[in-house]
Symmetry: C2
Subunit: 297 residues, 2 copies
């Protein structure tokens, strides 16, 4: 079964298009929890924190997105945690996204695909995020890996950050003399690249990253790319609400998974408790209900 179909199934099973964003940092954890691991072993504490969150959420959240940067900054110990988190989430039945935003020339992109997408990959994930600035031959090795492994990719199209538009909104001349913003041009290519990799549920293995913080752009991209699944970051701490992302979904309430990181990881701070797992679960249920209402509305 293609992972894109497994993702859609898992979202329907849980009734929850949420991705748990494990952008875990030492400062997100309760002091008392870090103490347990002796100060200095941030990597060990983060690993235990991630595992507890996965245990607490795997029955109600279908998917994790693990942000590589937070683990790379801790060196190879951090990379071990990155790897263990991906494996543990998969073991617990969650769909896994390695958020690595990798990109390079063809021969090097092949090495990145091998790092994340093959059977024997050291950092095995169902999906990876990639950056398309190098064009098709930097993407092709990932498409080949999708074909072989059944996995998928999410290509950066319209990112969630404030300066996303600096390049992504530039007006680009089309063949017929008309204009469209660069992100649409990238989006159309993403749609094309997915044509040979269609799943059984109407979406291809080649998805797009579309920031929750840009409702209009999300709506336009949904109309333009009816068979491209969206990974939508920016909900919660980055400021987007359910109404902002409803346009990323199709008419049947499908077609996107919404990532939340800080709002779930740091829910215990808002509630003033050390029980971060229970706090995250409460917050996850609120988010799920918010999404259900926002999307159906």
């Amino acid at each position: 079964m293609k992972k894109i179909d497994a993702l859609i199934d898992a979202i329907e099973r849980t009734g929850n298009p949420t991705a748990l964003g494990l952008d875990t940092r030492a400062e997100y954890m309760p002091e008392s929890f870090i103490e347990k691991f002796h100060r200095g072993d941030d990597a060990g504490a983060i690993n235990a924190f991630n595992r507890s969150l996965i245990d607490a959420l795997c029955d109600i959240i279908p998917c994790v997105k693990v942000q590589a940067a937070c683990y790379e900054m801790l060196g190879f110990k951090g990379m071990e945690v990155f790897c263990d988190t991906l494996r543990y989430a998969r073991e617990k039945g969650m769909i896994t996204i390695a958020d690595v935003k990798r990109n390079d020339i063809g021969s090097t992109a092949e090495a990145y695909a091998a790092a994340y997408m093959n059977g024997g990959s050291p950092f095995p994930a169902d999906f990876v995020t990639v950056n398309a600035y190098l064009g098709y031959d930097g993407i092709k090795p990932f498409l080949d890996a999708c074909e072989k492994s059944g996995g998928g990719i999410f290509v950066l199209v319209r990112t969630s950050n404030p300066s996303a538009g600096e390049f992504q909104d530039l007006a680009v001349r089309d063949g017929d003399g008309s204009f469209r913003p660069l992100y649409e041009r990238v989006g159309l290519k993403v749609g094309e690249w997915g044509e040979g990799l269609m799943g059984l549920r109407g979406y291809s293995s080649v998805g797009a990253v579309v920031g929750a913080t840009w409702p209009e752009e999300g709506k336009k991209l949904r109309a333009l790319l009816p068979r491209t699944f969206f990974l939508v970051p920016g909900y919660g701490a980055q400021g987007a609400a359910a109404k902002d992302i409803s346009g990323c979904f199709d008419g049947r309430g499908r077609g996107a998974v919404v990532n939340a990181s800080r709002s779930l990881l740091c829910a215990h701070k808002k509630l003033g408790t050390n029980d971060f797992a229970a706090a995250a679960r409460d917050e996850a249920l609120i988010m799920r209900d918010d999404l259900r209402e926002g999307i159906s509305g």
Copy 2:
């Protein structure tokens, strides 16, 4: 001293604007060398191979570029080698570039900058490569790290791969209604971002990746960005010769460092010898002389 000045000094000291590209893979090494490490320990073999090459070349090549993908595909053992290679090259007096092409939203880009560019970074490098598709706020944390550490970045502007132009050449509308290709627009931003980070030798800490395989684009970018240092991949195995890259240098023969990976790493295959270090040295001297002639001509 800013690392950009140290790089320019090192290039002048050796009279050689070459970067040794350590995109090392098991298949690049002589069979007999791999045997020594028992099959299966690719990471150990690659580490020893890299160290031998650094020993053999550090007096004639000023700089290494270590390609992260080849190490990531070997998992956390590979990341240890990535780290050790960067450290060893620095110990031997070479300027180090971590070729990671990282990119993300601001808070995450901060984590990447911490991974590579701070005093206590686990993968300490003098320069990192980054992708600017997310715009200024994904670059800002790297600029801050340049400011603090004295290090530098190379931003992807015009890459060396065949499909580089797919997005990078798109005609983008300027404020005055005129057009320029996207890569020039990115290049101009790179120039701007470097304004506050000028070194003493005429170049800023914010450099650009400009593929050797696109001579015309290189020449245009050199004229457009007089204070931006270029990292030029694509020489040798990717097909570019010295004449193709002469336009990336300024009138005094400065302003760029040219990366060669496979042509140096696999020189022993061309010569039919197992002494890969001696073969790489021979090839490096040929490349140096070729560059000297091509640039002055």
